[in-house]
């Protein structure tokens, strides 16, 4: 299989002439994990949304496999799974229904049961989403990303509201994903509970390569 690569060249975003982030250039290859760090308001979420093509950058370009992501023959959007601050799940549906409608019918049932058990959600699978706690809601949203079978996961503050056990379990899941040739971009403002990363972009200052 061909190596996949995500490249950005001097990405910049301005809002009302104020720079939100500037000069973001990186190459992310298969099996690598990129962490975007920085204090509150440093532009992590804006950068993440730009990488998901939800916000257009002011200048610079994003390339997937050497071709621009907004060109018509690029399958970039079919390769990413995004989790933002909002979980993107419906209050009126149960946990299970939420997973089914977002992923379609052909889910890996064994893997799903395994995930639900490890996240202590199995007994809640028929609970209405609105009745779950914030941490359980976040875990449901993470299950959607994990089961999406997409190559590149883009997660914005994935660990908000999660307990220690769940964070450790996600660490294992992420490592398997990376070992299988997956890629991960995550944003985090807390240096603790962070998983090993290959690249780090600190939006407060300079680009670091670890």
């Amino acid at each position: 299989m061909k190596e996949s690569i995500l490249q950005t060249e001097s990405l910049e975003l301005f809002r009302n002439d104020i720079p939100i982030y500037s000069n973001i250039s990186f190459n992310l290859i298969q099996g690598q994990h990129l962490v975007l760090s920085g204090s509150n308001g440093s532009g992590k979420t804006s950068l993440i949304r730009t990488l998901c093509c939800l916000t257009d950058q002011s200048s610079g370009c994003i390339k997937w496999n050497k071709s621009n992501v907004d060109s018509i023959d690029n399958d970039y959007l079919n390769r990413i799974a995004y989790l933002g601050h909002k979980n993107g799940l419906m209050d009126e549906l149960t946990l299970m229904e939420n997973i089914e409608v977002t992923l379609g019918k052909n889910i890996d049932r064994i893997e799903l049961t395994n995930l639900l058990e490890n996240f202590n959600l199995f007994t809640h699978k028929d609970t209405l989403y609105s009745h779950l706690s914030n941490g359980q809601k976040r875990k449901t949203a993470l299950i959607r990303v994990i089961l999406s079978t997409k190559q590149l996961w883009i997660l914005d503050e994935p660990f908000t509201n999660l307990d220690v056990d769940s964070i450790a379990f996600i660490g294992i899941i992420i490592n398997t994903h990376l070992n299988k040739g997956g890629m991960l971009i995550s944003a985090s403002h807390t240096p603790e509970n962070r998983i090993d990363c290959d690249l780090e972009i600190n939006l407060d200052g300079m680009l670091h390569v670890v």
């Binding site: 998901c52 093509c53 939800l54 916000t55 257009d56 959007l77 079919n78 990413i80 995004y82 933002g84 601050h85 909002k86 979980n87 993107g88 799940l89 419906m90 209050d91 009126e92 549906l93 229904e97 089914e100 409608v101 977002t102 379609g104």
Partner: protein
Amino acid sequence: MLFRDIIRRDLKISIRRSTDVLTGLIFFLLIALIFPLAAGTERDLLLKMVGPVMLISALLASMMSIQNIFKPDYMNGSLEQMMITTNSFSALIAVKIMMFWMIFSMPLILIASFIASTYYVTGFSIFTVVLTLLLSTLSLVNLSAFAASLTLAIRYPGALISLIVIPLSLPIIIFGSKAIEYSILSMDNSGPLYFLTGMMFFTCSLGPLVTASAIKISID
């Protein structure tokens, strides 16, 4: 995300939120029934009023319930998930608008025939009322969806949606009323019906495209 999943999802949610559907329906019923109470029950007067009353009630009902089409999905973030996971966002929006029309406007068309009979409308004219409402609600839903997508990022849009929809819907209201009026007077009403059909195709084809771009701007 497949269109089949969107349809299943929207149906399930609207069943769980059936009060919203019922509110729109009862709203339509009340508006349409309040006119005979206020204006008196003279047969000629009511027959003259029934066209505009039907159209205006349908317009008000669609403007009131249109908040439900994108706002919940926008607030909980599933609209941006749909934007990423679908191949054609405007086709998805077209599906969502049609689902909304089926859930919120179809019941309204069904009870319209009963309301029309309280206005002394009889025989073939009842069928014209239903047909006119069928054509005009399709246009009105597309127009309201466009207005709803423009005001998506505003937390409390209030009357803003009506300021956008009412001027745009004027031709539909005028020609819809005429179609019903001519049918009651046993005149040829094919002209207004052709116009309504044209408007229906125009809004159904262009509506989802502009709505999709307006949503993209709101989400940005």
